[in-house]
Symmetry: none
Subunit: 279 residues, 4 copies
């Protein structure tokens, strides 16, 4: 019996990146709690939780819905790409500034809702920017954000995202970023779908990130629910037990296409993973 | 010989919806001009043209690059979905207000760069919002935006987007929206990929929209370049000549996946369409 | 209940033929033992066991890891192809000499680690070499190697490899090679994937090789784990029981592509085969 | 009219990584010259050119065949993986030493045959080695090899190989490696198939490597001949002309499977590329 918990990321219920189907956050929370999830990972995207759109009252309302349904906020993250970009490694100083501010707003909102983890997508290189320059911008941004996070009791989890980006691509890239920032509340996470995109072995990430592994995204290939593709979640859970991982396994699935029923994949993922972590 | 012009939409060169590859706007303008395009459709997304990130100097710079390369701004549009949503039919009043403001900023930027057309994506229903309510929010938003557009000499082109959304799905939906708003600078457009998604006939849109047809998006199925899929662009061009269409045929292609070389699809689309419209 | 044993070949954990993922030999031994394998078949390839790279100390270390994990060395083999070729039928006399020496080093290393079987890949014809000539070179090489093997208490197992080569392709080719060499420590083996490549019946190999059948490679089509493809392993095991086969069934799987998790296929193969041989 | 030249890599005619079909080097040289290639890239693998197997006489013989057929040695490279590994980033000090020596032998052989370029595959991480450590080993190895290369008038070309390895994966990785080594005879190259594996844009590599771009491997996806897949070789050649590239475009194709006729793909690639570079 492990102390790992199961969480579900809200993209599949939001307008990012696919516009529909989309559900209000209250509705999403209720459905995920009913399926049995311990936690919910809320993307800071419309129509759920874009900080600028949430006044005090609305924030309190959501907190109440979370409490009433007995589900915790496992984590939060911004939506990368699109209009404002949210690329900390953009050549535009305005975008970098805006993105850092946005991260801080997400951190504060996360803390307000009782969460302790915000994910860090390290940005990506635009043609004409060297990797070195992009890396430095990203590292300095994370240093800045991490201070605000520390004040809020929030840990930043650096995630390699090779499927979508070109800066922090691998397990080692994430480790180097964490080490260069050197803040106690900057830790690591990985998403199984990204590791599989690189044709890498999931347990390698577990052993290499080790005690700094703070958070996990679960997804089978093509953003299928765990167990529906070729991922080895049996070995993964076994390795996680071996290193004593006690955080959230968060499903980040099904948001890449429109013809998905969010409840179905949420249930399917839960039913596959629950017995695995309970053994 | 028609007086139709060819334009290329910048999504494939930007970070929306796929983050990479992405090129600075200056570079994108130069490449499209070199291939031979008459116009460029600039998405108001990072790293190209998110209005809040562009100071006066940068705006002048881009205007100069457009002029120096002899390419016109055919049109602009916001990036829907993601963090701020930009859904004029959102149940969140803050999001609706923000999106209307964003549209106005895009309209002004467009005029500043010599453009005369901004596309209108009418939003989409979130679970819990009735179609009637969403429609009214969208119509009122467009009325509001169209006033600013009129002041700027800009036409708003209503686009049915059934592939992605659930509000203005068809040719007739767009016509009804235009008629209900009833402003002289609110016109119509359609995207061939959306018409094909509904298994509809491309020329039906031409004849039905008729003299109100102001702008066109060209894309073969799966966002392939025209001529690479199953679309009938020969009949389409012939119908357009018949009604005397003199606007831009804008390629909106290749932005839905990462493994695309923007220059390749831009060149391929140009080489297929140029002879068709020149005959 | 048979006295067959299960073993796992290390290619999937090494840099041959696919460079990554690759694990140190110590790690590989531990993982295979934990899954439950009786034996391990160690390929004489980097980073595991290229004889020239292993000093005395390292050899003792590995022996200790084998013993500590309670897993036996079922067999060894060289890596064919690549830089030094290791083709006993090469037209280059330098390559033939080098390859014979390499085989002898592998035989000695095998004995040192308590193993009693080395596999013999009979080489392949290069354009311009007659089959007769290639055959003679291979036979003489095996005669030479078998003497050293006899001194070390090691049996050489001739394997037909039609999928990859063009000299010893069939059951009968292997039998002829064994008979022409005529040494008591030269025996036979077959790999199910090679038999299936020729669209042959697995049990035919069992009955034809009979009492000279010394070793077996198990693999479903496309190097999938047994049970994941179209191979008939039920009939195979039944025939093996009938002839009283008491050797190792060695999985040689998953090494042909990078997107494989070695632990996953090792576990999957074990879980499929263990009940079959235990009945 | 550019001054680019066409070359063909010998893997498809050798026993690496697929054992057959394989042809003697003399035969391979004659065939490629007859098709029209300006140069040949010889892999240092059996049965062609494993340095240890080539005595003085044989080396002179090959030099004569090259001269008699009017074809130049464009470049050489070792075969990575397999028995001796040839991984400069291996945790085994014996392997690292051996690999550095092997590289030096290849450099000397290359110079002896009139070649001026040797490719550098920067190695790969074995589980348990940090990227930082692997990188340092690789950089020091290259520094060492580059000295011998300088004495021989040979340039080392660093190649990103993400398809197969996990150390120098991207354009920027190669640039950083070159810069850290800081030797005038260490330059850059890229292989189109590796860039496409990362879903990257070919011309980005051209512009970013710029004047340091010394050599190129051409291959369409899946190691198909250029023009047979989805690669954009038109834009590539155009960008190469723009930066004034005057080196070899070397086909490294068709070696990943057995059911290929080397002459056919060599001819097909030549016939597609020759007109492109001649315009």
């Amino acid at each position: 019996m492990s102390n790992m918990k199961l969480s579900f990321n809200t993209w599949a219920y939001s307008s990012f990146p696919v516009w529909v189907p989309a559900y209000p956050l209250d509705e999403t929370i209720k459905r995920l709690a009913r399926i049995g999830y311990d936690g919910i990972e809320i993307g800071a995207a419309s129509p759920h939780a874009y900080p600028k759109y949430l006044n005090k009252e609305r924030r309190r309302e959501i907190k109440d819905v979370l409490d009433a349904n007995g589900i915790a906020l496992s984590s939060m993250l911004p939506a990368p790409g699109g209009g404002p970009g949210h690329n900390v490694s953009s050549p535009s100083p305005e975008e970098r500034r805006h993105t850092i501010e946005h991260y801080k707003e997400v951190v504060e909102l996360c803390a307000e809702w009782g969460g302790k983890t915000v994910l860090y997508v390290a940005g990506w290189q635009i043609f004409g920017t060297s990797r070195k320059q992009a890396w430095e911008w990203s590292r300095e941004a994370l240093r800045d954000i991490a201070k605000t996070a520390a004040d809020c009791g929030v840990t930043m989890a650096v995630e390699p995202t090779p499927t979508d980006s070109n800066l922090v691509e691998s397990c080692d890239d994430a480790i180097e970023m964490m080490e260069e920032v050197g803040a106690p509340n900057v830790k690591l996470m990985f998403d199984t779908v990204h590791a599989m995109y690189r044709n890498e072995v999931l347990t390698d990430y577990v052993y290499n990130m080790g005690k700094n592994l703070h958070h996990i995204h679960l997804s089978d290939n093509d953003r299928l629910p765990p167990g529906a593709g070729r991922g080895d979640f049996v070995s993964l859970v076994s390795a996680l037990k071996e290193i004593g991982f006690g955080g959230y396994l968060t499903m980040e699935i099904g948001f890449n296409r429109r013809d998905v029923e969010p409840d179905q994949i949420a249930r399917q993922a839960f039913e596959y993973m629950k017995p695995l972590i309970s053994q």
